[in-house]
Amino acid sequence: MKFFPLVLANLGRHKRRTILTIASVALALFLFASLRTVVTTIDRAAQFGSARRLVTINATGLVFPLPLSYGNRLQAMKGISGVTWANWFGGRYGDNKRFFAQFAVDPTSYLAMYPEISLPEDQKQAFIRERSSAIVGRRLLDVFGWKLGQNVTIQGTIFPGDWTFTIRGVYTPTDAVINDDMMLFHHAYLEERIGRPGIAGWYVLEIEDANNAAGIAKAVDDQFRNSTAPTKTGTEQAFNASFATMWGNVSLLMGTIGMAVVFAILLVTANAMMMSARERTGEVAVLKTIGFKDRTLFGLVMLEAGIITVTGAVIGLGGAKLLYKASNFNAAGFLPGFDVTGNTLLLGAAVALLLMLASGLVPAFRAARLPVVQALRTVE
């Protein structure tokens, strides 16, 4: 390590080049981390789900409703300890520039089913009491500047008309995967206004024993097999996973771009290292003459490459981690819980190591193998 100052001095010789190369590496790893986080966020959403929750939808498809009367029948089944239901509302707010999801839910049972949606007890009670009230995620409050107690009017696209709700509560999800920009309101209020057709979009069931999930799911579907609306029941995780696949092949797309980014920057770094090495041919020959070993010279070049890529990696990866954390980024509600994972950081570090090897090896070998006499002869 006594040669460390020498390496630093070498790096400092072309300050501009060193800084630009480090910056390129940093940008590449920033992009790499961002692209990968898109994939990990979708994956995490796909894996989310309590083992004790099942989702029952209409066997024909998610967009077809189920009779509201199924609720009682489900509740009466063995092994099921809780039932709740919800409906997608599909409303527009204002100019519709910022989309957010609204759900009509049965307040008491829904909040009991999802302890992850947490809000102060008094707000919860206020929401449950008032039929035309709603609760919203913390982020919506910030995005639209709403306040507690304010009336908000949504235009229904599926259920026509203007719908006004009073905000009685603000929730914060305890798990980042759960979107913090939803609006939840009373299913009973929806039913009342659309003439009581008695429909629920889907049911969520809480089961007593997670090990019985498959059996209970089958029992539920068997029960409704010959009714007007057959059901399809699966674990919450399977439900979320099938949702995640709707994005199509995002991971391939992100992976391909990520590769291109890393490779492009590899070229930049390799080029910079080679240029530096070429300029120093004479010096290396001198160092060899005064007794530096081939191995030492090899190490010196690699160390130089390593410092560039590691510094770049720390800036790029750290920057990505901090930036997304600080800005609370969630891609306008599409990617809740967007956070650079430790795994991604490790992978980024591996990429940096790879960059170091790929950009440093050729110049390092050249330095180690340099024939002294010839090299000194060509010095100008």
Partner: protein, 388 residues
């Protein structure tokens, strides 16, 4: 006086490795640029092509998609007597009241969780004429009163049991696939079509979701819109079909475009840094040469131009290489959920000449920006010192 370009070309050949590495870096940026915009472009084009500006799409008032809309038989019958409807060759109106639903279908070969939301459209016989781009590639049209469906061209590759002659199961029934249709690369190619009267009882009951008709007078859209929306018996929104589909592509199309520009601009900065390094090194190693040029009487302006040209030349090589890499993705089919309609559409990457030109221009910009400061240094070189 101008310094000839061949001087730059020869200089570049003097240091082939460095030139090539820089050009390749730029090539990758250009390839990603063209590729991602081709994706956004392909998606937009597929949806834009779906709509015709001679067709009118009628939805329930306030509905933002066919899925959320609903029109009862009475409304459809009122609409069918509108004087704005063109007449087909058989003397009947080019008017199709349609059932529109979305069903989950498992993707071919993938795990059981991988489902796609596929559009099932119940049409009237006139629909084949109302949509002028539709062409039956194999088989025959579904017959009225039978459980038969026609499947869009892009479905067959992605889902099991969608070939002509096979049997597809959905909504608790079996449906014979009797034909496959193409629709000029539009979103219709990702749909399953059957008779509206067949689909009504198995899906959402006695109602249509939308009505599409051909305008008698293509210029008469505003007039048709006004009269239909003012009709007190109806609560409808009247859209020009082309505008409606263009709007459906707006959200995702814009996201893809923004993503493309963000990613490529960050990449471009990296590539520009690479170009700066290369050009500074070139200027430094050629300072005696530059000094000679200046001594010979070449203006600093010419030297500046010459080095800018050299940098642009590297970038041009990169741009061309990048375009070459990107061109083969043209036509590749991919699919994603269009969240505006909650259905999956398959579409092809579209690399257009404009896009390639844009990519090469982008490369040139990278080259010129990256070359500017080094070129300025060359132009301002103190002659005496450099020669010594």
């Amino acid at each position: 006086m101008k310094i000839p370009l061949s001087y730059n070309a020869r200089s570049l050949l003097q240091r082939p490795v460095s030139t090539l590495l820089t050009a390749l870096g730029i090539a990758l940026v250009v390839a990603v640029f063209i590729g991602m915009l081709a994706l956004a472009n392909g998606f937009r084009t597929a949806l834009t092509r779906t709509g015709s500006n001679q067709n009118v799409l009628v939805l329930r008032k306030g509905a933002d998609s066919e899925l959320s809309s609903g029109l009862d038989r009475q409304a459809a019958s009122i609409l069918s007597s509108s004087p704005h409807i063109a007449t087909g060759s058989d003397g009947r109106g080019l008017f199709s009241p349609e059932v529109y639903v979305i069903i989950p279908l498992p993707r071919k070969g993938a795990d059981t969780n991988a489902v796609a939301n596929v559009v099932v459209r119940g049409i009237s016989p006139a629909a084949w004429a109302v949509r002028s781009r539709i062409q039956i590639e194999a088989g025959r049209r579904p017959e009225s009163g039978r459980a038969e469906v026609c499947v869009g061209k892009k479905m067959a590759e992605r889902f099991d049991n969608t070939g002509v002659g096979e049997t597809l199961r959905f909504a608790g029934r079996n449906w014979n696939v009797v034909c496959r249709f193409s629709a000029g690369g539009s979103a219709f190619e990702s749909e399953i079509w059957g008779e509206n009267e067949q689909f009504m009882p198995v899906f959402r009951g006695q109602a249509f979701q939308s009505v599409t008709f051909r305008l008698k007078d293509p210029a008469g859209f505003e007039e048709a819109k006004r009269t239909l929306e003012a009709d007190r018996r109806l609560t409808v929104d009247v859209h020009r079909e082309s505008d409606f589909y263009a709007e459906q592509s707006e959200l995702l199309g814009r996201i893809l475009q923004i993503l493309a520009l963000m990613i490529t601009s960050i990449m471009a900065i990296g590539a520009i840094f690479g170009a700066i390094n290369t050009m500074y090194a070139a200027v430094a190693s050629r300072s005696p040469e530059i000094a000679v040029l200046l001594t010979l009487g070449f203006q600093p302006r010419s030297v500046l131009a010459s080095f800018l040209a050299e940098s642009a030349l590297i970038a041009l090589v990169g741009g061309l290489l990048g375009a070459l890499v990107a061109i083969p993705i043209n036509g590749m089919v991919t699919s994603t959920t269009n969240w505006a309609s909650f259905s999956e559409i398959a579409f092809s990457f579209r690399v257009t000449p404009t896009l390639i030109l844009a990519g090469i221009c982008f490369a040139l910009v990278m080259g010129v920006v990256g070359g500017f400061f080094p070129a300025r240094r060359a132009a301002r070189m103190p002659v005496v010192q450099a020669l010594r």
